[in-house]
Every structure is written in structure tokens, then in C-alpha cells.
């Protein structure tokens, strides 16, 4: 029985591969052997290079809850509770509404995609709050590089970039005047 099945399989395989080739000679050309080539296109197999860098971005922690930039605002609200106040800022012509969520000592700006609000930036408002790495409003500007490392100082702002987010310290006469966490990737989304 075994021998028999092997033969049938072989024949079946032959049927599949057996592109019986009666060698019809193409007109006026030597009996075409079997070399030609197909220009199949390599387009698809290129991996989409712009995968989001794996490295995690900057995060501000409020009462133990991390505010993940670019994540859904509702997720944070569910954990940390509703904001004191919400200011809605419809953009000039289109329906999308940017919102400002007011929390004690800081605000969260959101931007909408198809009706869901995502966190765009977090701005610290008073000196009682510190970044997870320990920087607070009014702190000496020169102390920041040894907390976050060297950075190119542009006029009066120190900007750190990590994992698609930026952390900006605006300094006025040597002291930190503003701390903003900003979701870089949002720019391409918003356009």
C-alpha cells in the first residue's frame, strides 16, 4: 500500500510542477531555453522605517499616576479623577475641539482625533510640583544640566528630547519659569 501512495503523490506533484513544455519556438528566435526573468517588484518588502522609537518618553507623575503623552485623556482621568475645570477651544473652522484640563497646580492640553481626546502637553503651574527627576519652578537653571544631562541652550529655554516627547524648561533671569512636557509626534497628527 505504501509504495502505491508514494507513486500517486509523485504523479500529483508532477501534475503541479509538470508544466509540460512543448517548447513552442518563439518566432525567429533560437528555441528559447528556460532563461528569462521576471521583474517582480521589491516594493512591498521594505519595512516601514518610521516605527515609533522604542524608547519611552518623558512622563509627569501626579499622585502616583503617570501622565503618558499621546495617550487617551480619558485613561488618565479615570485614574486621577476629573479635572477641576475644562476649557474648550474649537479650532477656527473645523469641528475638532482642543481642550485644556485644569488640575491642581498644572494643566493638560488635549487634541482630538475622530472624537477621542489625546494628551498633547502638560504645563506645570506652581512650585509645589516637581518633575519625577526633581526639578521644580524657581529652581536654579544651572542645576538642570546635572539632572537631565547636557543640552544646547537656545536663548532662554532648555529642551530635552526623548522617545517622541520633549521636556522644555523656560528660564527667566537664571530661574526655571515654566516646565512643559510636549508630545512631539502629535504635530504630524494634528496637521
Amino acid at each position: 500500500m505504501k509504495k502505491h501512495t508514494i507513486i500517486t503523490i509523485a504523479i500529483l506533484a508532477a501534475a503541479v510542477f509538470g508544466a509540460c513544455d512543448g517548447e513552442p519556438a518563439a518566432p525567429g528566435v533560437l528555441a528559447p531555453g528556460n532563461t528569462a526573468s521576471e521583474a517582480s517588484a521589491p516594493a512591498m518588502s521594505v519595512d516601514e522605517a518610521s516605527a515609533v522609537p522604542g524608547e519611552a518618553g518623558f512622563e509627569f507623575i501626579y499622585k502616583g499616576n503617570a501622565i503618558v503623552l499621546g495617550s487617551k485623556a480619558d485613561d488618565f482621568i479615570a485614574k486621577a479623577g476629573a479635572p477641576k475645570d475644562v476649557f474648550e477651544a474649537p479650532s477656527c473652522a473645523f469641528e475638532g475641539i482642543d481642550k485644556i484640563l485644569y488640575y491642581p497646580g498644572f494643566i493638560i492640553n488635549t487634541y482630538p482625533i475622530d472624537g477621542t481626546d489625546y494628551i498633547l502637553s502638560v504645563v506645570l503651574g506652581d512650585d509645589s510640583l516637581t518633575t519625577p527627576e526633581g526639578v521644580y519652578l524657581g529652581m536654579g537653571a544651572d542645576e538642570i544640566p546635572d539632572v537631565y544631562g547636557p543640552v544646547s541652550e537656545k536663548e532662554n529655554a532648555l529642551i530635552y528630547k526623548k522617545g517622541g516627547t520633549t521636556l522644555t524648561f523656560i528660564t527667566e533671569n537664571g530661574a526655571v519659569a515654566d516646565i512643559t512636557y510636549y508630545y512631539e509626534a502629535a504635530i504630524s497628527v494634528q496637521e
Partner: protein
């Protein structure tokens, strides 16, 4: 010439090599046969057939093949 016919005949017994003139165009000889003929020519006549000679005019009939062999022999 008959040595050539012997080579051709043991490739394909039935084909009428004496007077058929469309060995290639008629699809009687395929690329396998062509290479075998070149190998046989190399063996029997000691002549190597360069790639540029593999054109229908030379391989379409036994006579054309023979003429090619003679031409290559003089060069």
C-alpha cells in the same frame, strides 16, 4: 557530414535531419539538444562553438550546422 548526422540521430531518432530546415523554428531542437550538439561537436571535431554562433541560421538544418563547423574550423 555523416559524422554530424550520427550525432543528431542519437539525440532524436525519428526527426528527419537530412532535409528538415526548421529544426529550431519547428521546435524540434530545444536548448538541451543545442548544448548537447555543441558538446558533441567539441568532442568529435575539436571545435568550440562560441555563444554568438547559437543563432537560428546556424542550427535550423544539418547542412547549416555543417557549414558553421567548417567556417569555425578555418578561423
Amino acid at each position: 557530414m555523416d559524422k554530424l548526422l550520427v550525432i543528431l540521430r542519437n539525440l532524436d531518432a525519428e526527426a528527419d535531419f537530412e532535409n528538415c530546415v526548421t529544426l529550431i523554428d519547428g521546435g524540434i531542437l530545444d536548448s538541451f539538444d543545442i548544448i548537447s550538439i555543441i558538446a558533441a561537436i567539441d568532442e568529435e571535431f575539436g571545435i568550440t562553438v562560441p555563444a554568438e554562433e547559437i543563432i537560428p541560421e546556424n542550427f535550423n538544418s544539418a547542412k547549416a550546422l555543417y557549414e558553421m563547423i567548417q567556417r569555425l574550423d578555418e578561423e
